[in-house]
Structures are given as structure tokens and as C-alpha cells.
């Protein structure tokens, strides 16, 4: 078990494995998304309260879920990198941030588009989930800004890991404080989650699974770039690039 783990954590091995693994995550992921989207858009009956607008949740919920998961991955791998000084973990953290930020933005954008017909406004300040998501986006921006402000990669890795860990404690507090705050200022009737049909639920779960696989493929791809850049002075990179058959 541990030898396998160490082998995977070695950069050249990871670099090759990730290249093979990435399409095997992306293809089933895309297939599931295609099927889920078909179901969600055309097959599943419309919600009796929200009409067809509820179909937005088929992209909104997976994005919101991935925005949090990416942050968890970022913080956990940052901690692993700090504690066990594993370099690959820092590469994972660095790669998770931009994808996480993209999905956070997506969750906010789709939420706001959903809000327009449902609440009659593009942005509802009183909704605790949207506020939490917005703060999460700011946290991602701060993380990426700190990373890019420090020139030395090793230092940037460690500093941003500390920030991500402080942030993750705070995400929970942000969530509760925003919830409390919105319970004080209930201007709009915030939409309560209705019960979902089994059919709706299955399609949503398929979508979430598909998005997760796609996320995995995207993450692996970015980690490869990150590993390649960090290992640019090493012998295996030199041998791979200068070999007659070439690398990728």
C-alpha cells in the first residue's frame, strides 16, 4: 500500500499515470453529463412550483458542490504538503485553485440567472447560500493572489497552505454567520427546497457524478502542467523532452 503510494507520488510516475488516467475520467464524465443533461432538460417533468426554470439546478448544484470540494482538496493537500513535505501535494493545491474558482463563479452565475425569474432580481443579498458562495470566491481570489505575489515556489506553497487552512475554518463560520444574518433580514421569501421526484433526483445525482469525474480529469491535467514546471530542472524531464519519440 505505502510503496504504491510512494510510487504514485514520485513526479515522473505521476506525470505518466495522469496522462493515461485523465481521458478515462473525462470520457465517462462527459457521457454521464450528456445523459444527465438530456434527462434534466427534456425527460424529467417540470417542477410544479418553479416550472421549467428548476432545470437550472442540473448545472447549478454540481458547480456549487465542486466549488466546495475543490476548496477542501486545496486545503487538505496544502496541509499534507506542510506536514509531510510532500511536493506533489502542493502541486495539487496549486492546480485545484483556478478550477475551484471557475466552478464557484459558475455556481454564482447560474444561481443569479435562476434568481431572475424566481425572485425577480439578479442578485438577492438576503440569500445565505449566495453570500457564502460569494465569500468563497473572494477566498479563492485571495489564495491565488498570494500565490502569484510570492516568487519563490516553495515559499508560495507553504504560505498559501497556511492561508487555505485558516480559510477552511472560516468557511464554516462564514456559513453560520451569514445564515444568522439572513434570518434577521428576511425581505424576500427565500425559496424553500421542495421535495424532488425520484426521477429528478437520479438525473441530478448522475450530473453530480459526471461533473466530479470531469473535475478529476481537469485537475489531473493541471497538476501535470504544474509538475512539469516544478520539475523542469530534473533529469527525467530532460530525458523525456529530448528523447527521440518526445513526450507531451
Amino acid at each position: 500500500m505505502w510503496t504504491w503510494f510512494h510510487k504514485l507520488a514520485s513526479p515522473p510516475h505521476f506525470y505518466r499515470t495522469a496522462a493515461i488516467l485523465s481521458p478515462w475520467l473525462a470520457m465517462p464524465g462527459l457521457a454521464l453529463i450528456a445523459w444527465g443533461a438530456w434527462q434534466g432538460l427534456f425527460v424529467v417533468p417540470m417542477d410544479y412550483q418553479q416550472g421549467d426554470a428548476f432545470r437550472i439546478i442540473y448545472v447549478h448544484v454540481p458547480s456549487a458542490y465542486l466549488s466546495l470540494m475543490a476548496y477542501m482538496i486545496m486545503a487538505t493537500s496544502g496541509a499534507i504538503g506542510l506536514i509531510w513535505r510532500m511536493k506533489l501535494a502542493h502541486a495539487v493545491a496549486a492546480s485545484a485553485a483556478p478550477i475551484g474558482a471557475a466552478f464557484t463563479f459558475l455556481a454564482l452565475a447560474t444561481g443569479s440567472i435562476w434568481g431572475r425569474p424566481m425572485w425577480g432580481t439578479w442578485w438577492e443579498w438576503g440569500d445565505p447560500r449566495m453570500m457564502s458562495e460569494l465569500i468563497l470566491l473572494f477566498l479563492y481570489f485571495g489564495y491565488m493572489a498570494l500565490r502569484s505575489a510570492i516568487d519563490d515556489t516553495a515559499k508560495a506553497d507553504k504560505a498559501s497552505a497556511v492561508l487555505a487552512l485558516v480559510g477552511i475554518v472560516n468557511v464554516v463560520i462564514v456559513h453560520f454567520s451569514v445564515e444568522w444574518w439572513s434570518s434577521l433580514h428576511q425581505g424576500q421569501t427565500v425559496f424553500k427546497k421542495g421535495t424532488m421526484d425520484a426521477e429528478m433526483k437520479t438525473a441530478l445525482l448522475i450530473m453530480i457524478l459526471g461533473f466530479t469525474l470531469l473535475f478529476g480529469a481537469m485537475l489531473l491535467r493541471r497538476i501535470r502542467t504544474e509538475v512539469l514546471y516544478r520539475e523542469r530542472r530534473t533529469r527525467w524531464v530532460r530525458e523525456m523532452i529530448l528523447s527521440p519519440e518526445g513526450g507531451s
Binding site: 473572494f138 477566498l139 485571495g142 505575489a149 504560505a159 492561508l163 454567520s177 434577521l184
Partner: protein, 232 residues
Amino acid sequence: MTTQERQIPGMFTGLFAMTRRDLLLAWKRPGDVLNPLFFFAMVCTLFPLAVGPSAEQLEFSGPGVLWVAALLSTLLSLNSLFLSDFEDGSLDQLLVSPQPLPVLVLGKTLAHWLTSGVPLVIVSPLLAITYRMPPSVIGVMMLTLLLGTISLSLLGSIGAALTVGLHRGTALLSLLILPLAMPIMILGANAVSLAASNDVYTTGIWALGAYAIASLSLAPYATAAALRISNE
């Protein structure tokens, strides 16, 4: 070397020595303490100028404006928390000091709170009166500011430690700290608003207290780790 088994002074000696030194420094450079206070007053003055001086408007937005101003002025003073130590080499001395770094950091943060948070609490009633805040509400506001600025100083010290020595440190510090500090402001400002409308506000106070205790026990370690990383 004759006296080898000498005891290193206890934690509290180190803590208070650190606080004492920083207070002494603040005493010799009063500008560093006063500028954030002027900034605080200035932001509070800007607001009525922007939205108009109507009494209900001021009464309604007073708690929020005071809290946002307090948050921003604390941020302003945080920037220099470790900067001069970094520049003159004192930070190196602290890193190789026989005292545990988190304790020294806590001492510095305590001094920061005493020179930024406490003056803010003392000045705030003057501005609250101009916002037509009744005396009972002013008491609640001072309490929330007192508790909130403890957390702000501690949380801010992490950000200050992460950005010390970076060229674009000031803007970056705000970007890092503001989202983290949002819950403190939400709790503080809303507790005051609730008090102003005669509602139950104790939840906010308790939450602020809990936040202060949690950050008191965790933040010094994060700050110490961040300082070691930044000073590598």
C-alpha cells in the same frame, strides 16, 4: 560557561516583555496609533456626506457604518504589524529567541489591540452620538467593538505575517483578510442593529465572544507558522 542550568523565563514574562516593547514603540511614534483613528473618524464623516444627513437614515445605518469603518481602520494599522521588525532584523531575533514564537506573536498582537482596538472603542461613542445612537445602544456597540477588535487583531496578524516582505503587501493584505473578517463584522454590526430596534442581541455578543476565544487559542500558532515561512 559556568551557569549552564539557567532557567529560561516563563511564557508570561516573554509575552509581557513583547507587549511592553511594542507599547513603548507606539508611545514614541504616536502617529502610528493616531492615523487609523483619524481614518476611522473620516470614514464615519464621509457617509452622511454621501447619503444625506436625514436623521432616520443615520439612525438606521449608524451601526453598520461604524463597524465597516472600524474594520477598515484596523486593516490599515495591521499592515505595519511586522513590517518594521522585518526591516530592521528584529524578526530574526524573535525567530531565534528562547521564547516560543506563538507567545511572542501573541504579545505583539496584544500590543496591537491595545493601540488600535481599544482607542477605537474609546473614540466610537463620540461618532455614535453624531449618528443619534441612544446611550444603551452605544454600550452594546462598545462591547461588540471590544470583542470584535480582539478577533480582528488576531486574524489580521495571520494576514500581516503572510504578506510581510512582499512588494504589493498592502493591497494583498486587504484581499486576504476582508473575506475572513466578514463574519466578525456581520456579528458585530447586526448585534448593534438589533439592540437599536430593541430586539434580543445577545446571540451576536456570545458568538463574538466565542470567535474571540477561538482565535485567541488558534491564531498565534498560524501567525507564528506564517512568520517562519515569510522570513525564510
